[in-house]
Symmetry: C2
Subunit: 328 residues, 2 copies
Amino acid sequence: MTTAARVEVLLGEARGGSRRALGRLLAIAESGGDAAEALDRAILGAEPPAWIIGVVGAPGVGKSTLTGRLAAAAAGTHPGPAPHVAVIAVDPSSPLTGGAILGDRIRMLDIGDRREVFVRSMAHRGATGGLADAVPVCVRLLGAVGVAVVILETVGVGQIELEIVHAADTVIAVVSTGWGDAIQASKAGLLEVADVFVVNKADRPGARDAVRDLEQMLDAGAPPHDARTAWRAPVCTTVATAGTGIPELWTAARAHRDWLAQTGAFAGRRTERLRHEIGRRAVGILARRVAERLADDGAGGPETPEAAAQRIAAEIAAGDPSLIAPGP
Amino acid sequence: MTTAARVEVLLGEARGGSRRALGRLLAIAESGGDAAEALDRAILGAEPPAWIIGVVGAPGVGKSTLTGRLAAAAAGTHPGPAPHVAVIAVDPSSPLTGGAILGDRIRMLDIGDRREVFVRSMAHRGATGGLADAVPVCVRLLGAVGVAVVILETVGVGQIELEIVHAADTVIAVVSTGWGDAIQASKAGLLEVADVFVVNKADRPGARDAVRDLEQMLDAGAPPHDARTAWRAPVCTTVATAGTGIPELWTAARAHRDWLAQTGAFAGRRTERLRHEIGRRAVGILARRVAERLADDGAGGPETPEAAAQRIAAEIAAGDPSLIAPGP
């Protein structure tokens, strides 16, 4: 059986509610290359998930527990035959440490056992472009088999994680008083990406200060260019381990989704996201050509690095397009 | 006066010890574009700094204070007429927060006032590629005017910061018990980039545990492929505010530099770094071409993102090389 035929069979099974088939399809999407592309082609034109939520925050702020609570909230409001809610937890484990620090996954299981929530952990090990490419294919796949709400959970510090954040409609940024203060949130770039802020572990000392500092920094941000379309991130407080504040957080996140729909920003963001994905993939193809040339090219000749770069880019732009290999 | 002529005058003054001229040259390097390229061309073939040290760590671990101590150690061991030691502190401030969180700079001033240490803060605001391009030009410039030791200080969490880390010969990764434990260091990717580890604020409870955990994680890493060339990062302890442990840290860092020289890794790393810089610049040129095409191209047609990306990359590779604009 060809890959395309096998994908069609699995898609039929997954649409019928088979978690095993969905798991195999996600593995194909995650593996990249020709098989992932065959999968993406098979679901071309399918409806994307109705809502993609990103949950981002530094290690140790209680992100996974909070994600579990949000998944339960989403599942509770929309029961259905197929898994209605899916969580993709992206773990920034590194090549050296391997799977040693994947303890976070275990905390998801009490949610993952519920029939209506599908949980998938993805680790990135070295091949950074691979994960940035895989996540949007996985999200499209989940939409194509009927998943309405996708929650992407990731540590929000690096370039790869920000790529994943950009795949979401609504970004929930999690901080805790144990992690640091609002200044640290600012340094981590969370102020720019957050649609909703959460101060988790709000039963600890300093939570009130963290909320106040965040509110002040958000108020000090650039004034809205257009009062009708500008969204000011609200700051919620939760104790995720106890479930405290989850209904209020869920309401705030839904308010953001409604705002996106009402202002037309929803469709605009999704078109922009698709364009961004195409661009990243095109640059990746050209970057592989650059790497090939560099391997042959001596470094440190009588050129500045910029002059050498311009020469190599011009050589590639003058090259035969048939030299570009299809896919990785 | 042309830019090239002005640069020559400033270079002469900076080599003679003018900090004002060096500051203006660094501003040119930082600004990018044609002027930075003219500067890089003017110093082509000059000796690079003898030693480039990177200091990396999360916000709040005491990185700036430690950098100041290291700069003083480097200056103390090698007095000279021109600034012998230079610190480039890269601040990950964001467009929204602007210069509000640059308080770290102030702590450097007690070192910066010493004649033999030159301190420069660089903030990146939006133009990410710009900073990655600017830092190596700044480092080459410092070498060309006679600076022997360059210390690059940055928060080591994002892609841009890792680019800066890769510009260093010896990377010192700073953690503190206040920041988190060894797991967090692992999650932040520090284990992969560190040549020397420092547990700062070692007078606090938990420092001994942090050292033990780090040692264990380093021991659990991949076994050395070649005992002659493999370097295992030592773990030092410091109280930077009091100066405790600085001589031992300085000795450990110098041991790494000596190891680089003895194994031949020094020259190999520098050649690899130059090749990496050329590649990043070439990809940047091609990425600008991709962005131009995307602006004209509709997204969401009857193609997968990968198919659209392959088409655009092929169109660029078939294009006229003269279309590539020289410089940004």
